[in-house]
Symmetry: C2
Subunit: 116 residues, 2 copies
């Protein structure tokens, strides 16, 4: 098995169009032997946000730190704080926003059949 | 999408043989529309532990609260604290133990092809 502290994994900027102040760590993925799904950790700076986008695979999200919002496919805004769980089904538009004074940090796992 | 606080999900005792002081919430699963993997949250009371067991599917784990240990398939003990990530590959013996004064709380996601 592999056991390690999250912060020992290098963090990389998210360079996707529409991302502002976003960084990502791949915590567990195919190179670790994970065959089915990948666990990623995102950090969003104050006033930053992820792209408002959609894709054909789901997100399973758990908020670790900070406060923010997720905007759903109907444009509704849902508050985020530690312990909030989000399931984003495939093909639903979504955007994470940091509205707080500190880093917004969350886990976001995706299936390996995902294309990006 | 679904957005909710973790603690709004009812917690259930883990009644598997060998489990002591363990409770579980299914945060995201097939009934939510998740097609590929399930996100669960475990709570282990002080001095409690999960069964020392093995199965043919992996665990992707993130420690949220508390301190403890995971014992690997070679009998080696790895410390757990918030932010520790664990990948348990299929068929490796493992056991989570709470060695601290408070609840040990962690996420543990599994693929849907798992049999139990």
């Amino acid at each position: 098995m592999k056991v390690f502290q999250d912060e020992t994994v290098p963090v990389k900027p998210v360079e996707m169009q529409g991302a502002v102040g976003c960084r990502m760590r791949c915590l567990i993925g195919p190179e670790d032997g994970a065959m089915n799904f990948t666990m990623r950790q995102f950090e969003v700076s104050p006033a930053g946000h992820t792209p408002q986008h959609t894709h054909d695979y789901e997100h399973e999200v758990f908020v670790l730190e900070g406060t923010g919002q997720i905007v759903d496919g109907q444009g509704q805004v849902h508050p985020l704080r530690p312990g909030v769980v989000v399931f984003v089904p495939p093909n639903e538009l979504h955007q994470f926003r940091n509205t707080g004074p500190g880093t917004l940090k969350f886990l976001c796992s995706i299936p390996h059949r995902s294309t990006g």
